[in-house]
């Protein structure tokens, strides 16, 4: 089976880390709010203990997501755009290889969130009639050039069909 070869931008690791921090803070705040409400309305202690266990597990996962996971994710993430198909390989625990024939692509979207903008990166969303996949944290000029290539290949394929 042909494996994709192109890697994401190295700054993707930083992007994922910032995402992990933001998610961790939001989830932590949410759980602390729940814990406060449980204390305020004097709900059974067992539920409160369960929330603390959840809080602890989330904290552990956040540390994992902040330190080890971004590097592993970066190592596994691969993509490749050919004149006939788009290949994507991703996933740490469950490795997935996605294959999309270029003539199935309906549209391509370039997206930039605040983190991407900060590092001059962009996310490329490839949409078919039934699904959509994202290639995150590509450097802006590469994302633009891939987007242009896909459009061109898709057009050529349509003409051939």
């Amino acid at each position: 089976m042909r494996e994709p070869t192109q890697k994401l931008d190295i700054k993707a690791i930083r992007g994922w880390r910032i995402e992990a921090v933001v998610e961790g803070i939001l989830i932590g705040m949410g759980l602390l709010l729940v814990e406060y409400l449980l204390y305020h309305f004097q709900v059974a202690r067992i539920i409160s203990a369960m929330v603390w266990v959840l809080f602890g597990s989330c904290a552990l996962f956040c540390i994992f997501d902040l330190t080890v996971l971004p590097k592993l994710r970066y190592k596994k993430w691969r993509y490749e755009v050919h004149d006939t198909e788009v290949l994507i390989g991703e996933g740490v625990l469950f490795y997935e290889r996605i294959q999309i024939p270029i003539n199935r692509v309906q549209h391509v979207t370039l997206k930039q969130g605040p983190i991407s903008r900060m590092y001059k990166l962009a996310t490329l969303e490839i949409t078919t009639a039934a699904s959509s996949v994202e290639i995150p944290y590509l450097s802006q000029h590469i994302a633009e050039s891939i987007s242009k290539d896909i459009k061109q290949f898709a057009l050529l394929n349509d003409e051939h069909e």
Binding site: M1, D83, Y95, Q99, I100, N103, A129
Partner: protein, 489 residues
């Protein structure tokens, strides 16, 4: 290109009967509730408080106003290969749909609509989520014919290719595994609705049941629930599939069915994405199966987003029957044993048995172990554990046995797989939007993988999954799916 502006000079509205449909439906619901109460020796209207009666009256007036405003604001026009629909009461919206994007036509006629000589026209457009369904709730027959001709769905000479007789519909109702859902719903009604619990009829039945010993009582309750559930299932099957006929009209396939509400679905052959054969455990024992169609932008929310083509058919004659409808498709996978194409079939390797069984053994075995908490002797716990492990092994080996893939045809992929029901799918290559190969730790160690196909069907995309196949076979499927280089074309 045909210029249609000359045909439609102004916007059209739905049939005005739609205004009173809502109220009639509400009144019918009240009448049905009253009858149920009467059967249980109670009076529905006297059981309502005066406030509840006032709310009911106000809701009827509001529903009349809402229906009128909906009718007044819903207008449509076919103009220059476009369909423009204006709708909305508070928030006005205007939708423009290219006619070539409209894929399937569905006609539904309820008893009420039949009285007014109108039908409900549903069209499925490409893309979007729920918006892909275009629903014209009440249009006249003439208007339907006009719309059909604009969409190039003109009726040609009809030829019946399949008739569903009455006995198979009864068998379909009896063998459906949805009997379990119906029983659960009945139990829910019995325990939750006080009026059922307090009615003299139910009290009499309870009194009668008390005359039995405990084991007999449990058996009798189970038998009553099963009997009522089967009766309801058979009634629903009759309601849905009575007089089911399949016609082939030119390049389209038409399915007509229904006892009270008639339902006509028209699918263009070129929009056919997949043909699916489902065999639940009960039906498999009797060599019976159900055939579904997945079409581009089509599908029924009450039929797992597909359209039922044949509710019940003997598997022996299935391959021959389907071949007459779809001569360009290959159905050898239905009976692969002894078939010359057998050597082109891929099966799961023996080492995949572990992957098929391990998770089930852990889950079901865990459930079996949990019985230790129940006040039963330890021998029963061991029995439950043994039973749960045996079930998971049988289930896993059945799943292993049923994985078969055929990539022999260039434009068609056929495979069979099983979760609980055995599913055989024949899929057009042009409708597969993407393929995903997934590997977990155990699969990676055993050189296995799971492949998933996303197919372009209705608003709800359909995803098919084949678990634990050999990496080498996955490579062959990958090569089969990879488009030819442009230079090769």
């Amino acid at each position: 290109m045909m210029n249609m502006s000359s045909l439609d000079q102004k916007y059209r509205r739905l049939h005005p009967s739609i205004i009173i449909f809502g109220i009639i439906r509400k009144l019918v619901a009240i009448v049905i509730l009253s009858i149920i109460y009467l059967l249980l020796h109670q009076n529905y209207m006297s059981s309502l408080s005066s406030i509840a009666k006032t709310i009911l009256a106000i809701s009827i007036v509001f529903s009349l106003m809402r229906s009128y405003l909906f009718w007044k604001n819903f207008t449509y026009i076919f103009e220059d290969d476009l369909l423009i629909i204006n709708s909305g009461m508070l928030f006005k919206s205007s939708r423009v749909i290219a006619l070539h994007q409209i894929r399937n036509i569905d006609l539904r006629v309820s008893l009420l609509q039949r009285l007014f000589g109108v039908v409900e026209l549903r069209m499925d457009a490409e893309g979007g989520e729920k918006e892909s369904l275009l629903k014209f709730a009440a249009v006249t027959r003439n208007e339907v014919e006009r719309i059909k001709s604009l969409l190039r769905y003109q009726e040609k000479e009809n030829s019946i290719v399949w008739k569903q007789f009455l006995t198979p519909i009864f068998v379909y109702g009896i063998t459906t595994l949805k009997v379990g859902y119906v029983s659960s719903f009945l139990m829910f009604c019995y325990f939750q609705f006080d009026f059922l619990d307090n009615s003299s009829f139910v009290l009499q039945v309870e009194e009668w049941l008390r005359t039995f010993d405990m084991p007999q009582r449990i058996g009798a309750i189970a038998a009553i629930f099963m009997l009522v559930s089967w009766m309801i299932s058979v009634f629903f099957a009759l309601f849905r599939f009575y007089r089911l006929r399949v016609y082939i009209t030119g390049d389209s396939l038409q399915i007509k069915k229904g006892l009270v509400n008639t339902h006509t679905t028209t699918i263009k052959m070129k929009d056919l994405a997949a043909i699916r054969v489902e065999e639940n455990i009960l039906r498999q024992l009797f060599g019976l199966c159900t055939v579904y169609l997945d079409s581009i932008s089509g599908g029924n929310e009450d039929e797992s987003n597909s359209t039922i083509l044949i509710p019940l058919i003997r598997k022996k004659i299935l391959s021959r029957t389907l071949q007459t409808y779809f001569p360009t498709w290959d159905f050898t996978l239905i009976s692969p044993i002894g078939n010359p194409a057998d050597k082109n079939l891929f099966r799961s390797p023996k080492r995949s048995m572990l992957s098929f069984c391990i998770l089930k053994c852990m889950l079901l075995g865990g459930c079996g172990l949990l019985t230790i908490q129940l006040p039963i002797p330890p021998s029963y716990v061991s029995l439950m554990l043994l039973l749960s492990v045996s079930i998971s092994l049988i289930w896993g080996s059945l799943q292993y046995k049923d994985v078969v893939i055929n990539t022999f045809q260039r434009n068609q992929l056929s495979f069979s797989t099983r979760f609980i029901n055995k599913t055989t799918v024949f899929m057009g290559r042009h409708c597969i939007q993407q393929m995903v190969y997934r590997q977990n730790f155990i699969q990676s160690h055993n050189h296995l993988c799971t492949i998933m196909f996303t197919v372009r069907t209705s608003a709800f995309k359909t995803r098919y999954k084949v678990k634990h196949i050999d990496e080498k076979n996955a490579s062959i499927i990958n090569a089969w799916f990879s488009p030819a280089k442009m230079t090769d074309l």
